[in-house]
Subunit: 197 residues, 2 copies
């Protein structure tokens, strides 16, 4: 293959999530062929992110300012905090457009297997926020996995001495799903949590 | 979603080949989280490619110099030219490591449907190289598609008045393939071109 610079770029791109060597090669060729319309704007946009994006000191979100736009916004309900595992989950909640409270990004979930303890996550800062007294409800929007459940359980046990309401996202059949394709656990849970209509 | 810079970068990355919005979001989050170890080296490598990579005036390959390292190399056979559709195909041939001649990148194949005529491709420059008299064999390594075949046919018809040998890559069953998964066309062709062992 030609050019040390090209090989180096292919190697770096191949390590990005959801990419491999083959797609990295395709991307690099595309970028070289469209230098003005693809490569240079991409470099500029990346430099913009590198220069301007910070982690919000309050909630852990990524934004151009800290505190972030959500923490600063007068339109968002300061009494509700939604606890998520990752900024990706915060973005997913924001895309739905139905949530108007605050967030708290843990940066992971507790995991005995991966050696993740409470002190490895942004948990202390959550309790600092809670102890300020402004927060009335904590919504736990953690993954529906065993580690996610354990983390929720841990947070509930530490919150139960406060007067704060703790809730969690409803579980059941996703919108548009075929029953046929649902796993047994989800079906059982949806049946147990059935609602009168 | 937070941050104009982030949204802009997601949109640009989502347009790259083999990526979409979902994987672009994952990549951008990864880059923000690993700014020092992923984002900054990526920007540097892209800037290196943007600054240094040129198109070879002789063969159409991408390299840090023009003529490229292959055209310049004293170790490569100057009497053989392998004609390929794209630089990606040149890379694929180089990875195999078995070819030691020169290349000529057409930049596409003739296509009535997409309105690609001979003057849209690097065909004239191929005949200029051929008329210099150093080239003794032209290997047509174009795609095994209808447009690829038409392009090969066109090149053969224009080369037939010269003394140059024109060859094409063998077609048949790929190494490691199960007959069961081969299409009828390939099986027929492999049967017709069978060899005594």
């Amino acid at each position: 293959m030609a050019g040390q610079d090209i090989e180096k770029l292919v190697k770096i791109i191949a390590k990005l999530p959801s990419l491999g060597t083959r797609s990295a090669r395709r991307i690099v060729l595309h970028l070289i062929k469209k230098k003005e319309s693809a490569l240079l704007p991409l470099i500029e946009a990346m430099q913009g992110v590198a220069d301007n994006i910070k982690t919000c000191d309050i909630c852990g979100n990524f934004d151009t300012s800290s505190p972030c736009a959500i923490c600063e916004s007068a339109k968002r309900d300061k009494a509700i905090v939604c606890v998520v595992q990752d900024v990706a989950d915060l973005w997913a909640m924001e895309r739905s457009g139905f949530y108007h409270g605050q967030y708290h990004v843990l940066g992971g979930v507790l995991s005995a297997l991966n050696g993740v303890a409470p002190e490895d996550l942004n948990i202390d800062s959550l309790f600092n926020r809670v102890s300020d007294g402004e927060i009335k409800e904590v919504i736990l929007a953690l993954p529906a996995t065993i580690d996610g459940k354990i983390t929720s359980h841990y947070l509930v046990s530490r919150l139960k001495d406060t007067v704060i309401k703790t809730t969690t996202l409803a579980q059941g059949i996703p919108v548009g799903a075929e029953l046929d394709y649902m796993d047994e656990g989800t079906l059982q849970l949806a049946l147990n949590s059935r609602k009168e209509i």
